[in-house]
Amino acid sequence: MVTEVAAAVITDIEVMKASQIGMKALAAAIAIVGTAFAAAWAEMAIGSAAVGATAENKDIFGLVLLLTVIPETIVIFGLVVALLLIF
């Protein structure tokens, strides 16, 4: 009787652990998906404006390159959060 209960408890704990790992993985995925979407969206607008501006004046290439990569931070923070969640 006691051994049966103990076995059931151990199985429960294992299931809980597994679902925790699963939840962590899901959370990490959500972090990446959301931030990647945001970064892509922001870069879409900035990038197209930047290409237009560069066509007008080639000298500002450095500046617009800079402006274009600024939203990259969003997805990198997402990646950092995801990595910290998993490891």
């Binding site: 290439f61 450095g62 500046l63 390159l65 800079l66 990569v69 600024i70 990259e72 931070t73 990198i76 923070f77 990646l79 950092v80 990595l83 910290l84 490891f87």
Partner: protein, 655 residues
């Protein structure tokens, strides 16, 4: 180092008859950055006007236009030609008079003939397409025209048509689009039109030709072949001329351009009466030799003096860096050239950029690939900027190899020695074992780099403000930067006193002093308060910017994040190629297995080539961004004017 080259402001005054020797000497020395004279009522320049070009400028311009026209026709670009030797000026000038008109004449004749042939070619091809449908009906082309009472229609119909009699109809075999010729009386036109409209008739113009269509097409084809052969011949002749005169033409362009720049130089000087005044900039150490040279060229009939440099003078900026840092000037120019009274951070960029790149890519295999690519491309890429870019990439790839050794990575595989930096090896694949990456350790490393880099930026900002500002404003701006540093380190002290972290001092064990805070926490709070006061004293609006302390320091975690993503791609490629495709097949080789192995090799090659390309983009752009956004915004403004001395770097000619 850390500052642009020192400049002197020179004022040159002489009588107009000395214009030519002065300009010649300035042009030869290639040192004098001319400050263009503008009539704007500047003090001391009342009554001055802009000079007139030297005589002969008109003819030289005409010659230059001729040379450039020829160059354009031959698609010659001087930047793409490596000089084999230098042409002597005098020889070249006599050659310009003799050879240039001959080349021009021959070129005109050949290109004229070519365009006439091309017109013929087009006409013939057009004729062939017009005649082609009529080949189906074996009838002389003359039969189609010349009737007063009859109408002849030709075209395509999409289905069977029944043209009411009396009419003569030829219709080709076929299903969808059938060619048709109909001959009928003029007065039946409207009936025929109605029938044809139902059959979706598309009219074709009947070519005005004589003879059988097939024979006519053959004749046209012959003409086309002949014209093509002749065009080929002309192109070969043009190639011959181009190859024979390529260097002569670019040398001509160079010499004529020099002549024009010299002849038009007085347009940039101020003149009054019989006198002219030229103002400009010369590197400080070259001012005295230039003065002597000008005196020598004019026999002492020139007055040259050094003016004092005002604080707001638009001094042109020339970099002054040791050779290893020079390629990084490209990265500086992409952002903005430093101002004259500003720190020039090129050296720091030239050291830190490769380090960041190496920390991100950090793989011996990719580093070696990149290094070979740079060494290979060096021969093919021409122009100063291209060479600089290659040199920057070369340094970055060497740094990647170095950090690859420290990370113990080769194309995603571990090397046979332990990690000297926190591990980046992910557990990818079915049988992956091991400790996995040391993410907290990597993060702390990145944050430390960020804190040091940002603090350095703030210190440089203090230096810049102490040079550029005056009075109380200077003290305020310097203190504001001290405030920012205090804020960063105050927050760090607070964190250390509360949370133990890897690679950071653990100060949680210190005895508590008051309200559950220990000494370091109190130091941290004090630093925060002083910091905020210092920042607010300079500008209260800056308080809004306080969160950037976190966001900028955390932004350095991209060094880890981008690097890990590149490691992950490499390991996935390895797992798919070797673990899934090649490995299992090697145990028992079959015909299908060989195909799998070949696929595995392909996946391996393509995957790693793509990852190298991503590595350059990721490593390069993100390191650059850390410089531009996180580092430069602390102290660097830029906006300096490039020092471009009067004269030309002569590649093809010499005196």
């Amino acid at each position: 180092m850390l500052a642009p080259r020192q400049m002197s402001r020179l004022l040159i005054v002489a009588s107009r008859d000395q214009l030519d020797p002065v300009i010649r000497e300035l042009y030869r020395s290639h040192l004098f950055h001319v400050e263009d004279f503008v009539v704007d009522g500047r003090e001391g320049y009342d009554g001055f006007s802009i000079g007139k070009p030297l005589p002969g400028a008109g003819e030289v311009s005409t010659d230059l236009v001729k040379v450039r026209t020829i160059e354009n026709a031959f698609l010659i670009r001087s930047s793409e030609i490596e000089p084999t030797g230098k042409h002597l000026n005098e020889e070249l000038r006599s050659k310009i008079e003799q050879e240039l008109p001959t080349i021009e004449h021959e070129l005109g004749e050949l290109t004229g003939r070519r365009s006439r042939l091309e017109v013929t070619l087009k006409e013939c091809e057009q004729k062939i397409t017009e005649l082609l449908p009529f080949t189906e009906i074996p009838m002389d082309m003359e039969i189609y025209r010349g009737y007063a009472g009859l109408t002849v229609l030709a075209g395509y119909v999409s289905k069977e048509v029944n043209i009411p009699e009396p009419a003569e109809v030829y219709i080709s075999a076929g299903k969808a689009r059938r060619f048709m010729v109909a001959v009928f009386k003029n007065d039946r036109r409207s009936d025929v039109d109605r029938v044809l409209l139902e059959a979706n008739f598309q009219a074709v113009t009947i070519p005005v030709e004589t003879g059988m269509p097939r024979a006519r097409i053959d004749a046209c084809n012959e003409q086309v072949a002949q014209a093509k052969a002749e065009i080929d011949q002309i192109n070969r002749r043009l190639d011959e001329i181009r190859d024979g005169h390529r260097e002569f033409l670019v040398a001509c362009e160079e010499i004529l351009k020099a002549d024009i720049e010299r002849a038009e130089a007085p347009l940039r000087f101020a003149t009054i009466g019989q006198m002219f005044v030229a103002e400009g900039w010369v590197p400080k150490d070259r001012a005295a030799p230039l003065k002597d040279a000008l005196n020598g060229a004019t026999g002492g009939r020139v007055f040259v003096t050094e003016l004092t440099v005002g604080e707001h003078d638009p001094v042109p900026v020339e970099y002054d860096n040791p050779p290893f840092a020079r390629p990084s000037q490209l990265l500086m120019d992409t952002y903005s050239r430093p101002k004259y009274n500003e720190l020039d951070p090129t050296i720091m960029v030239s050291i830190v950029f490769p380090i960041f790149f190496g920390l991100i890519l950090g793989d011996v295999g990719y580093g070696v690939l990149l290094l070979f690519m740079c060494l290979g491309l060096r021969k093919f890429i021409k122009g100063e900027e291209g060479q600089q870019l290659i040199a920057v990439l070369r340094n970055a790839s060497i740094s990647s190899i170095f950090f690859g050794v420290l990370y113990s990575e080769f194309l995603g595989f571990p090397m046979p020695w332990p990690y000297l930096l926190p591990s980046r090896h992910l557990n990818i694949g079915a049988n992956a074992t091991g400790h996995g990456p040391n993410i907290p350790g990597l993060m702390m490393m990145a944050i430390w780099i960020g804190i040091v880099h940002i603090t350095l930026g703030r210190i440089l900002s203090m230096v810049n403000h102490s040079r550029q500002d005056h009075g109380t404003h200077r003290i305020k701006t310097i203190l504001a930067n001290v405030g920012w540093i205090l804020m960063i380190w105050g927050i760090l002290f607070l964190i250390w006193s509360m949370v133990p972290m890897p690679y950071m001092p653990d100060l949680t064990g210190l005895p508590l002093v008051v309200m559950g805070l220990n000494v370091t926490a109190l130091i941290g709070i004090a630093a925060l308060i002083v910091g905020i006061i210092c920042i607010a004293r300079e500008s209260a609006l800056e308080i809004v910017e306080l969160p950037t302390i976190f966001s900028h320091a955390l932004s350095y975690s991209r060094i880890v994040a981008v690097g890990l993503s590149s490691v992950a791609i490499a390991m996935v490629v390895n797992y798919i190629a070797i673990g899934m495709l090649i490995g299992p097949q090697l145990e028992n080789i079959t015909l299908v297995g060989v195909i799998f192995i070949i696929m595995g090799v392909l996946v391996f090659l393509i995957g790693h080539v793509m990852n190298t390309a991503l590595g350059i983009l990721g490593g390069g752009l993100h390191s650059l961004r850390l410089h531009y956004v996180e580092f430069f915004t602390k102290f660097y403004k830029g906006g300096g004017k490039k020092y471009s001395p009067f004269g030309l770097n002569r590649r093809f000619t010499e005196d």
